[in-house]
Amino acid sequence: MVSLIIQRTLQLVFLLFGISFLVFSSMHIAPGNPAAVIGGPTATASDIEAIEENLGLNDPFLTQYARYVGNAVQGDFGYSYQTTQPVADAIMVRFPNTLKLAVASMIVAVIIGIITGLISALRQNSWLDVSATTFALAGISIPNFWLGALLILVFAVNLQWLPVGGMSSPWYTLDGIKELILPAITLGTGSAAMIARMARSSMLEVIRADYVRTARAKGVKEKNVIWIHTLKNAMIPIITIIGLNFGFLLGGTIITEKVFAINGVGRLMIDAIAARDFPMVQGSVLLVATLFVLVNLLVDIIYTYIDPRIKYD
């Protein structure tokens, strides 16, 4: 386990270097000049030049990158070109919202996904299975900005059960939970559907396994055959897909945060890309990538608990 963690940390460092380089160079290749954005439409050529000089944009690319990495390894991720705020601060303000959203959606996705998956696997080819499968596929097929808008229309505007948007109350309060419901459903539906499908197929696979037949041959009760002998084995691919979906979810926050006026990292990222706010793009991408790696590390650790065959060393 320790060696797994060490190994992943080394990989993460490598990954972060790779990502920062990729982002850095892509932002430099990309047309559009941050100084022009800051200057706005009125800026004169000299205004823009002064801004460029001020931001250090006139240095050679590698100098800029080296400077960035040099600072970053010391924990200084620079200042936003636009707001002059330290990148780390700007991100840390938004991160809790994104995390809340992602975790809530994951919970929605996992609960709905596993339950539907199980039902359709256990009642294979019944109408329950068909409707669960259809539901799952519909879930994957709805563009989530559209789903979000529909949910707002129905539950916030017409029924007024839930707020339209924003995320300002702590998550453990009633208001906080209410704020989370619609965005979490919007974001979680796609993942729920993917998890459901994975749960179904992996349950079906395991249920045909020899050891399940062994359990039956021992006279184990059907309930235990499912919950003890089948589910734990079936969980392994499900956990994998959950881990991978986390990445998908993090991508989805970009749109969900926009639709529901949530002040999160996803929105920060699009705004930063649009404004060519390099340090901000860098910072947020690095954070998201780190998170992704950590979640997958967590998944790997969970594996060792579920599946004794998996050992990392």
């Binding site: 994957i140 097929s141 559209w146």
Partner: protein, 295 residues
């Protein structure tokens, strides 16, 4: 040496691989639905100009936001007075073209990487780290960065989406290659002195095709959705291209006054994505030899 065998059953087995796959596919009702929708979409796309009396770009500012089942515009018109049905029909073309381009580019890239990584141990670590790197970017973000570099256009959207498919495809291919590589027939080919290239192309790739085909159909769905998402973020098709995602995102402003502007393309996307997904599911089952004994 005499070999006795019963001709009758063997004849039944003499079907082509594709035919058997299709037969099994047709056992799955949802998959048939999917296939029908996909075929319809292909027909729409191919014969778009014959399916509608209106030019999808022709505006008529006097006839804006007509509701569905209006005279001459059975799906109504949009805020420029353009016929929604003809936009949907021509949009089918775009969805298909973008989807197919994106998926095939991604497939080519992913397959090459996956093959190399799976086959050559030495390249594995390097390629997979690179793939991880792409993987740990959220897809939309990756696409946004790529579009930021390349500029906003459908072609670039397709490229962006294809790059975003590469890591998943590479992993899937690598996984199959790793298991196929251990099969005895590969060992047999090696013992016959076959070159690596021959083994990869002629022996590994065809056997890894099932997961790739499945991935491709499912990815079509993702590609169409992603195009829509990017259009929503203003990074998709150039107006007045009747791309479905762009139609929804534009229509959102009229969700109250003219809900059909979002609902119609929304349903079109849902149906298509649904169709490709069930088709992918069906294909997976049909291509899975373990399903042979199943009813």
């Amino acid at each position: 040496m005499a070999t006795v065998e019963s001709v009758k059953t063997k004849d039944k087995k003499r079907e082509k691989y594709i035919v058997t796959t299709m037969k099994r596919l047709f056992k799955n009702k949802l998959a048939i639905v999917g296939l029908v929708i996909v075929i319809l979409q292909i027909i729409l796309a191919l014969f778009a100009p014959f399916m509608t009396a209106h030019d999808p770009a022709a505006q008529n500012l006097a006839n804006r936001e007509l509701p569905v089942f209006s005279d001459g515009h059975w799906l109504g018109t949009d805020n420029y007075g353009r016929d929604v049905w003809s936009r949907i029909v021509f949009g089918a073309r775009i969805s298909l073209v973008v989807g197919i381009t994106a998926v095939s580019l991604g497939l080519i890239g992913g397959t090459i990487l996956g093959l190399l990584a799976g086959y050559y141990r030495k390249l594995d670590a390097i390629i997979m780290r690179f793939v991880d790197l792409l993987f740990s970017f959220p897809g939309i973000l990756l696409a946004m960065l790529i579009i930021a570099i390349l500029g906003t256009s459908l072609v670039n959207v397709a490229i962006a989406i294809s790059i975003w498919s590469i890591p998943t495809c590479a992993r899937i291919v690598r996984g199959s290659v790793l298991s196929i590589k251990e099969k005895e027939y590969i060992m047999a080919m090696r013992s016959m002195g076959a070159s690596d290239l021959r083994i990869m192309i002629r022996h590994i790739l065809p056997n890894a095709s099932a997961p790739i085909i499945v991935f491709a159909t499912m990815r079509m769905a993702t590609a169409i959705l992603s195009t829509a998402a990017l259009s929503y973020l203003g990074l998709g098709a150039q107006p007045p291209t009747p791309e479905w995602g762009a139609m929804i995102s534009q229509g959102q402003d009229f969700m109250w006054s003219a809900p059909h502007l979002t609902i119609v393309p929304g349903i079109a996307i849902m149906l298509t994505v649904f169709a490709f997904n069930v088709l992918g599911d069906g294909l997976r089952d049909a291509l899975d030899p373990n399903m042979d004994l199943q009813e």
